[in-house]
């Protein structure tokens, strides 16, 4: 730190005040220009386009082998640590298991405040008491909680500013998602697809918590798409929306993916395509009105949520500049859509797929209808956890590659009929991993426009952690056996790894403080920060 002491002038004081104000505020303009301030990590995927890519390049392929731990921060709670922290002007804001939250000095890992929500005893998250992070706007942090509330915390103190109920947790509505802040809105999507909820995406006023709009992901009678549900099945139709979407400010569209229909693995009582389950939705950011949709897996029987972060890429396609949306989907296919109108452009499998024999020219799957859950069990690839899952991919504009953590798991689906009971699991079949072929994983690099595999780095186990790539030519991944790994983004060559002691359930972020680039990854109940020595 510099120690010179200039004479204090009024101008100087004003400048300091102006800086302090701007630093404490994450304005919508800052979110729009997030790619211009790589020192910070302002939103779930780093920027609205969903890239999880940073232009920081201090850590590169020549020096990543020297990465060393700088600090560790203990949340001190068990369960999967799925947060993506935000970093704003030297402060890191994260959420933890059981709806804990914290702010820490990003340079030292020392806590500034801690928060824990007082949760009711009986909650029904399908897959752990997890939370994936905050959104920030102004001086406020927004969190969607396991008891289906949306809350705002003061960024400097962690004090609760407002708290609104979005849905009834007694009926297994929960939130695990990191919200997305757009303009004055805080956007969230609900979890509960394993419990027969009726999914929705909500926007709340960041200032007051008032709900501005709701998009029900299962259409009610009289609404378009309702005809894709037989009988009353729409009432418990699922289609949750539990991963953070992307945003295109030019089109003013929010891209938000949805999850499985309920019951997730039995379709006998929900005939039809079951819109808008397993879809990409393009919603008007101001009104929540549906502009277009594309359904990846109609009438799903295998739990193929489309809840993977959509990645927005502008590229030449068939000789003209086009706004694209790409997604490596849990159902085993990589997709390219036109994000202005949802037009299907391409699909290509990125591993072994048996539930469909391909995707036709109109974007409809050619379903292998012989593979249904049966009393004796039916083997289907990918398994219910998918070829990939919610863990973030990363898009690197320099390599033109999409980095995706993938699994080889195939499952045996056995029918297990169930009736709906509010607040109870609603699956319709039971699945177990194929006992013969132990599932493994990989971090794969796919050509972002063709889906062709450029390289694959093998993981010993099926993954739970995603990817981060940087302008230093490095891609970071985390495996389920506790390794945090740096690879050469062009070739997949191993550069470095560190054993953290527990499975990685998130993807890394990067930021800079006082001229030093940090990479942060959660593992176990600890947040680890690495940098060059």
């Amino acid at each position: 730190m510099k120690t010179n002491r200039p004479g204090i002038s009024l101008l100087g004081i004003l400048l300091v005040m102006a800086t302090a104000i701007s630093q404490a505020q994450v304005t919508y303009e800052r979110l729009l220009g997030a790619d211009n301030e790589p020192k910070n990590w302002l939103t779930y995927s780093g920027r609205y386009s969903g890239w999880r890519y940073s232009t920081l390049n201090q850590i590169d392929t020549s020096n990543a082998s020297r990465l060393a731990m700088q600090w560790a921060f203990q949340v001190s709670d068990l369960g999967q640590f799925e947060t993506t922290p935000l970093v704003v002007d030297g402060v890191l804001y994260g959420t933890g298991q059981n709806d804990r939250a914290f702010a820490i000095e990003a340079r030292t890992g020392r806590a500034i405040w801690r928060y824990q929500r007082n949760l009711p005893e009986k909650l029904q998250p399908c897959c752990g008491m997890v939370n994936r992070g905050f959104a920030m706007l102004g001086e406020r942090l927004f969190m969607a909680t396991l008891d289906a509330h949306v809350i705002a915390l003061d960024a400097k103190t962690g004090n609760l500013l407002w708290d609104v109920t979005a849905a009834d947790y007694h009926k297994a509505y929960t939130f695990t998602v990191a919200p997305l802040a757009v303009k004055n809105e805080v956007i969230v999507g609900v979890s509960g697809g394993e419990y027969g909820v009726r999914g929705f995406i909500d926007a709340y006023d960041a200032a007051t918590g008032r709900r501005l709009w709701r998009f029900d992901t299962v259409p009610a009678p009289g609404e378009a798409g309702h005809e894709t549900w037989s009988g009353d099945s729409w009432k418990t139709g699922g289609a949750p929306a539990w991963i953070t979407g992307a945003y295109d400010p030019e089109l003013n569209l929010i891209y938000w993916p949805t999850g499985n229909p309920s019951p997730s693995n039995y379709g006998g009582e929900r005939d039809g395509d079951n819109l808008y389950s397993n879809s990409m939705l393009a919603l008007d950011a101001d009104t929540g009105k549906l502009k277009w949709y594309y359904q990846f897996t109609p009438h799903d029987l295998y739990d193929y949520d489309a809840t993977q972060v959509p990645v927005l890429v502008d590229a030449q396609w068939d000789g003209r500049a086009r706004k694209l949306l790409i997604q490596a989907n849990r159902n085993g296919f990589f997709y390219v859509l036109d994000r202005t109108d949802g037009k299907f452009l391409l699909a290509k499998s990125f591993g072994t797929v048996t539930w469909a024999n391909g995707i036709d020219k109109d974007g409809k799957p050619i379903v292998n209808s012989s593979l249904q859950a049966s009393p004796e069990g039916t083997r289907v690839c990918p398994g219910a956890l998918g070829m990939t899952n919610w863990y973030s991919p990363s898009y690197n504009p320099e390599t033109g590659l999409l980095y995706v953590a993938t699994s080889t798991e195939c499952d045996i689906f056995t029918s297990a009929p169930q009736r709906y009971r509010a607040g109870h699991d609603f699956l319709g079949s039971v699945y177990v991993p194929d006992p013969v072929a132990r599932p493994t994983g990989a971090l794969k690099a796919l050509d972002a426009l063709t889906g062709a595999e450029k390289w694959s780095f093998p993981y010993f186990s099926n993954p739970n952690g995603g990817a981060l790539s940087t302008a230093g030519g490095v891609v970071f991944g985390g495996d389920s056996d506790g390794n945090f790994i740096a690879l050469d983004a062009k070739t997949g060559r191993h550069l470095w790894h560190e054993q953290l002691g527990a499975a990685v359930y998130s993807a890394a972020i990067t930021f800079e403080v006082e001229g030093k680039q940090y990479v942060v990854i959660p593992s176990g109940s600890t947040l680890f920060a690495f940098a060059l020595p």
Binding site: G79, Q80, C127, G128, P375, L385, E409, T414, A416, P417, Q418, R419, D425, L427, V430, V432, P433, P435, V436, A437, R438, P439, P458, Y459, F460, S461, N462, N464, D479, S480, D481, G482, N483, I485, H497, Q499, G501, A502, A503, G524
Partner: protein, 277 residues
């Protein structure tokens, strides 16, 4: 840790007492039994088998033998709180759901599996003679390569044990399951062979393994640790190191004796290894 371990025990008497006032499972309605069957299939069958006849991780629940107590209240406790030190986890069912599962289990008739009529004393000798004890430990003595069998009968059906002896490759036993990895698949007792740069092959089972390392128990029962970058290859085979005991190696009568002995190995609820019942 200590608090966590003590608390449930402190709670048990009160809750067990309350459960005793619950409905008699033998008088359950057909609807309740059907409900229990559905819950069982969805939640319990991956370990206990689709028809509750036992699987690779859980015992036969139709045999009428209940290691952790046979009363409704005891089974209720086993389901709700799990069995520490075993694969049986605590479960978050509502009380009515547990009663439905118990009613379903009570409604099942014992399977027509081979009746075990052998002589357990002879079986105990066979366990030494045919080589089981060279790889399996029972109550503190024996080998280390295969699973400890001190409470094998509390966790496996006789039919499963016979299959494991005749065809050990058919379903490999589970080894380490990482408690930090909630979606992981346990390692198995499959054969792993590490090929050294000079071509030397070291076979055994993996005690743990990840993308970069492997921790092994070799066939010679020594611990060996390798970094994968230092070896030429690591080969996994869905094949047990245990020999398949065909009828020529172990006659049907000898199998009866051996399994009769294994059937006596039930450990005890509080982890105190104990032979017999």
């Amino acid at each position: 840790m200590i608090v966590a371990a003590l608390l449930p025990a402190a709670i048990i008497p009160a809750s067990a007492q309350k459960k005793n006032a619950a409905p008699d499972s033998t008088k359950a309605t057909a609807t309740t039994i059907k409900e229990g069957a559905s819950l069982f299939r969805g939640n319990c069958s991956p370990c206990h088998g689709l028809s509750a006849h036992g699987g690779g991780r859980g015992p036969d629940l139709t045999s009428g033998r209940w290691t952790h107590g046979s009363t409704d209240a005891a089974i209720f406790r086993t389901i709700s709180q799990g069995v520490p030190g075993t694969d049986m986890p605590a479960n978050g069912f509502e009380d009515s759901e547990i009663w439905a599962i118990i009613a379903y289990l009570r409604s099942l008739t014992p399977p027509k599996q081979p009746a075990i009529v052998g002589d357990s004393a002879k079986g105990k000798k066979l366990f030494e003679i045919v080589g089981c004890s060279s790889c399996h430990m029972v109550n503190g003595s024996g080998g280390r390569l295969g699973p400890d069998l001190s409470r094998v009968a509390a966790a496996r059906s006789a039919a499963y044990m016979i299959e494991s002896i005749r065809e050990p490759d058919k379903e490999l036993s589970n080894a380490m399951l990482d408690p930090n990895n909630h979606y992981s698949v346990p390692l198995s007792y499959g054969t792993v062979t590490v090929v050294m740069p000079d071509g030397e092959k070291i076979s055994g089972v993996a005690l743990n393994e990840d993308t970069f390392t492997i921790q092994m128990m070799t066939a010679e029962q020594s611990l060996r640790f390798f970094q994968k970058k230092d070896v030429k290859d690591v080969i996994h085979e869905h094949k047990s190191l245990m020999p398949a005991y065909s009828e020529s190696a172990l006659s049907a009568a000898q199998m009866q004796d051996l399994v009769a002995y294994l059937e006596t190995l039930r450990g005890s609820v509080n982890g105190e290894a104990k032979e017999g019942r």
